[in-house]
Subunit: 306 residues, 2 copies
DNA sequence: TAAAAATACTCCATAGGTATTTTAT
DNA sequence: ATAAAATACCTATGGAGTATTTTTA
């Protein structure tokens, strides 16, 4: 290690370029003696003369020229790095690995990606769908930067940022749509179709029903809301879906949607990231963009934030 | 200009490599606080966090990783430069543009190049043949590093380093070889064949003859010693050649060589370079190598240095 | 003699060290 | 309780400035 510094290289390159210590010093915004000293110092470290001083003219030695040639490349790479840094100033840029829970992903993901690409030109969104626990693990493993989940998580290592509240609606077979909306108590005695274990939405639906009744009847499970709705359509039972799912899930299924009038069940959708992630400010901007997408999709309820 | 330094880059790279401030600091041979401060300073200059600190684990931000990737390349180039410098330590390395006067080049050049390549493995000799004045001009123009000439030059800007003295010998037609060697006075009245204007050897031969006689008779000129010898062989007149030319020039010509017994004419061959050339020491080593070649070629006289 | 580089000296910014505190597991 | 990073404080190196001298064309 010779302890060469970028300054040394810059100064030497300036001398080679300007062919004069005075001018080179000027170009480097330092005094001529300062430059002389630095070059002397550089030559001492290298252990050989680099510049032939000839009173009026300067000339690089073999080694000096070799060093200048290499220095030019190095300095160019450093300047490029400078540019990268400068270009990085802004709301968000670079890769954003963003997780979604399965009961959000199909309904929000496309619009969210579009909106983020629009708002943050330098962004490269890498979306991923997984159940809450998987997303949490991947956050801690630095395999995700942030995730869209149902709050609260109460994970010590994660910061939560609520985006919007969203009601659940009842999905029944068209044949039953004339009946009144059942109460939560009644529902626990009906054939309630739920997602399989691990989905937070399953727990939320269950807690809504069990909050009053002691226990649910035998329950059919599906691995996606779409499956559940298709089952309802086939007359197997009834189910709950979040409001954002209505447009997509009722398009091809012959089912009836009913809203709860009082004490409607709901979930809070939020974005989470590692507490230690230093880009909290930028991630809140990302969250704001996602909230906007949610409000556009659900003008009625999504404005509520819990 | 962000004022990034190689130290900053080294430190950041060390952190990315070791995944821990303490270990990285150790690898950089500085204390942990010193490293913390430098990274903080670097982040301040960049204007964004580069490292996510998570108590036990570290992780690079997008920008941090980008900088590390570029830093690695830069540091590699700098290390390579270090290697180049280290490899340059030694007697002489790199390009040596070496001029020869025409009355030396054909006889010395091949052996000199071979000897230099042998003594200085890192050298790349670029030989060039031209008359003295041209060589001097090219030295001043930095188009030559050194030149082998007849001394003295008395050029203020050049340093002269004598290598060896070399006698002139008389070249006569075989038919005249039984006659006694003419004195200098006599020679100026004979048909003396000389090189054309510009060759120092012409002047040296002339001054030897004219030193006594007032003026030479009508003179035939040739543009190489070889031509002159061939003319002598054809019976046109007589000429002088330097000792080193004997082997080559008499091989194919039917001429007689005669040495001067007393007050033999001679020239001093030396190496010259710009006074300002900082590689004087190495060039003297080059000169020593050339002197050795001269002594091998002319064991009798070349040991004399004037 | 004039123009450029080197030298002499002074000053201050900062990189680095040690000791200690804070933080998160 | 422990291990790691951050903070506080101090020191010394060295980079840069101004004034001056030396060099050479």
């Amino acid at each position: 290690m010779l302890g060469l510094t970028l300054k040394h290289l810059r100064y030497l390159e300036a001398i080679a370029t300007h062919g004069q210590f005075s001018r080179a010093a000027e170009a480097c915004f330092i005094s001529q003696p300062a430059l002389s000293i630095q070059i002397k110092e550089l030559e001492a470290r290298v252990g050989a003369p680099l510049v032939e001083r000839n009173a009026r003219k300067l000339h690089m030695t073999n080694l000096g020229q070799e060093i200048v040639d290499r220095a030019k490349k190095i300095l160019l790479a450093v300047d490029e790095l400078d540019d990268v840094v400068r270009a990085s100033k802004g709301p968000f840029s670079g890769r954003l690995r963003l997780g979604f829970i399965p009961t959000v992903a199909p309904y929000l993901l496309p619009d969210v990606v579009a909106e983020l690409n629009h708002r943050f030109p330098g962004i490269e969104v890498q979306p991923r769908e997984a159940i809450t626990q998987t997303l949490i693990d991947e956050l801690h493993d630095y395999r995700l930067d942030a995730a869209i989940v149902a709050l609260p998580l109460s994970d010590q290592g994660l910061r939560e940022f609520a985006l919007f509240a969203e009601e659940f609606v009842l999905v029944r077979n068209k044949a039953e749509s004339s009946k009144p909306v059942p109460s939560a108590e009644n529902m626990s005695e009906m054939q309630l179709l739920l997602l399989e274990e691990g989905h937070c939405f399953r727990d939320q639906a269950l807690s809504f029903c069990e909050g009053l009744g002691p226990r649910a009847k035998s329950i059919m499970e599906g691995n996606s809301l779409n499956t559940l709705v298709q089952m309802v359509s086939a007359g197997v039972g009834l189910t709950l879906i979040p409001e954002m799912a209505i447009p997509l899930e009722t398009r091809s299924a012959d089912v009836a949607i009913s809203r709860f009038m009082n004490e409607a069940p709901f979930r809070t959708i939020g974005i989470v990231w590692r507490k230690s992630n230093p880009l909290a400010e930028q991630l809140m901007e990302v969250g704001a963009a996602i909230r906007q997408v949610g409000q556009q999709k659900m003008p009625n309820t999504a404005s509520l934030v819990t």
